[in-house]
């Protein structure tokens, strides 16, 4: 009986965490989107062989998502290999990273290396 009670309590605790964590995560996302104007857009659109915006400022821990709106495949590759490169993104495909330590991160498209961009990560 003791064992079952413990299991039940653990299960209840885990469920509680899950229920608690889910809205928090969603809320965090909503807050981040709402702050987009002040803290910088977290989406970078690839269109006509350009990253738009070319320079993006985000806070550490925020997510940055590229979306390819071209008919050509593009990649996201860190110049200094500071984050894992994307696979080739076909039309409307996305690639997301989480901004790490504060600093300036240069990246480019390894298929069309004239395409370059910068992510500035702040605290």
């Amino acid at each position: 009986m003791t064992t079952i009670t413990l299991k039940n309590k653990l299960a209840a605790l885990l469920c509680g965490f899950t229920l608690l964590a889910l809205p928090l995560f969603t809320q965090a996302n909503e807050m981040k989107n709402a702050d987009g104007g002040a803290g910088g857009d977290t989406r970078i659109e690839i269109k006509d062989f350009h990253f738009n915006p070319q320079t993006l400022t985000v806070k550490s821990g925020e997510k940055v998502t590229w979306i390819n709106r071209d008919e050509e495949p593009h990649t996201i590759v860190s110049v200094e290999k500071q984050f894992k490169k994307s696979t080739a993104l076909d039309t409307d495909q996305e690639f997301t990273i989480t901004a790490g330590a504060p600093g300036t991160y240069s990246y480019f498209c390894s298929v069309h290396p004239k395409m370059t961009g910068i992510i500035i990560v702040e605290k």
């Binding site: 062989f49 495949p73 480019f108």
Partner: protein
């Protein structure tokens, strides 16, 4: 146009058959002939019109390029079909080419199934020898491993896939300029390949005709769009002493030509879709072209080198 449009349901001058037919004119390829050190190019359309066989030549070969198997956007929703039509044209030539050169972008996304489709369709081609160089679309996710495994079996490739071979006294050099590209840069050959090139041509006589083929142009077509190769000058320096050098490329999906001394640079059309002329669009992406206008912007280019006095003649004419 009656030869091309037979089912114009929407009264717009375009039907599927006509569109594909016109696309075939855009994408069939070029026949290169070599006779006594003189190179000349003709479109397959011109050859198809000829009543008899080609004039006797020492060597003829054919360049195809930018098949982009897997592409299915507006500019051409059936690139496999237009590639098939291109091969049909080659098969109907009175004098078959000795071999084909494919100057890259076999596939759109380097997917195994796209390479499979290409290989399957290519089986219908009566000319079996094909020499390849990769386009950037063929090396997207694996640095070109899949490409090399499939398409370099008949050559002694070095490094990331460059090689040379001789045919009928002509020295052919296939170069790779789509790998390890640097941020902000252009196509790139790299030190290792350049050193190999220098050694490869070192012992050749200056009268040996040279044909170089690579995907990205080895001349600055339009660097703003990445249409050039950053270290091509060094490569061309090794070839400067030769009396006849022809540099063939794909990548830009249109016929452009430039002559510099004894060197003729020539870019080929695609069998998939056209791209805009340099600087005439926001980007170099696929260009949608009305089918009925295609022939007026397509043409044939004949180039002749005359060894000794280096005189050359270039004749361009469209297909209208």
């Amino acid at each position: 146009m009656s030869d091309y449009i037979s089912h114009d349901h929407e009264d717009d001058g375009i039907d599927r058959r006509g569109f594909l037919h016109c696309m075939a004119w855009a994408g069939t390829g070029l026949l290169w002939t070599v006779s006594g050190g003189v190179l000349a190019s003709k479109t397959l359309a011109q050859i198809a019109k000829a009543a008899g066989p080609l004039p006797a030549t020492d060597l003829s070969f054919l360049q195809i390029s930018d098949s982009h198997i897997g592409f299915s956007k507006e500019a051409n929703k059936d690139v496999t079909e237009t590639f098939k039509i291109a091969l049909d044209r080659i098969n109907s030539m009175p004098t078959p080419p000795a071999f084909l050169i494919h100057t890259g972008d076999i596939t759109q996304l380097s997917k195994p199934e796209e390479f499979d489709t290409f290989d399957q369709v290519l089986k219908s081609c009566k000319t079996k020898d094909v020499f390849y160089v990769p386009g950037e679309h063929d090396v997207l996710n694996d640095g070109g491993k899949l490409y090399r495994d499939r398409y370099l079996k008949s050559v002694e490739a070095k490094g990331s896939g460059w090689y040379s071979f001789n045919k009928n006294g002509v020295h052919f050099i296939g170069l790779v300029n789509v790998l390890d590209l640097q941020a902000g840069g252009l196509g790139q050959l790299g030190d290792e390949q350049l050193e190999w090139l220098e050694a490869d041509v070192k012992d050749l006589g200056t009268s040996t005709p040279i044909v170089v083929f690579a995907h990205i142009p080895l001349w600055a077509v339009y660097p703003q769009w990445g249409w050039g190769t950053s270290d091509s000058e060094r490569a061309l320096g090794y070839l400067k002493r030769f009396g006849s050098v022809t540099v063939l490329n794909g990548h830009i999906h249109q016929v452009l030509q430039k002559v510099e001394g004894n060197v003729t640079f020539h870019s080929a059309m695609s069998s998939a879709f056209p791209q805009p002329a340099p600087g005439t669009a926001p980007s170099p992406g696929p260009m949608n072209v009305p089918a009925e206008k295609l022939r007026s912007v397509l043409g044939l280019t004949s180039v002749q080198y005359r060894q000794g006095n280096n005189a050359l003649a270039i004749v361009d004419s469209n297909l209208s």
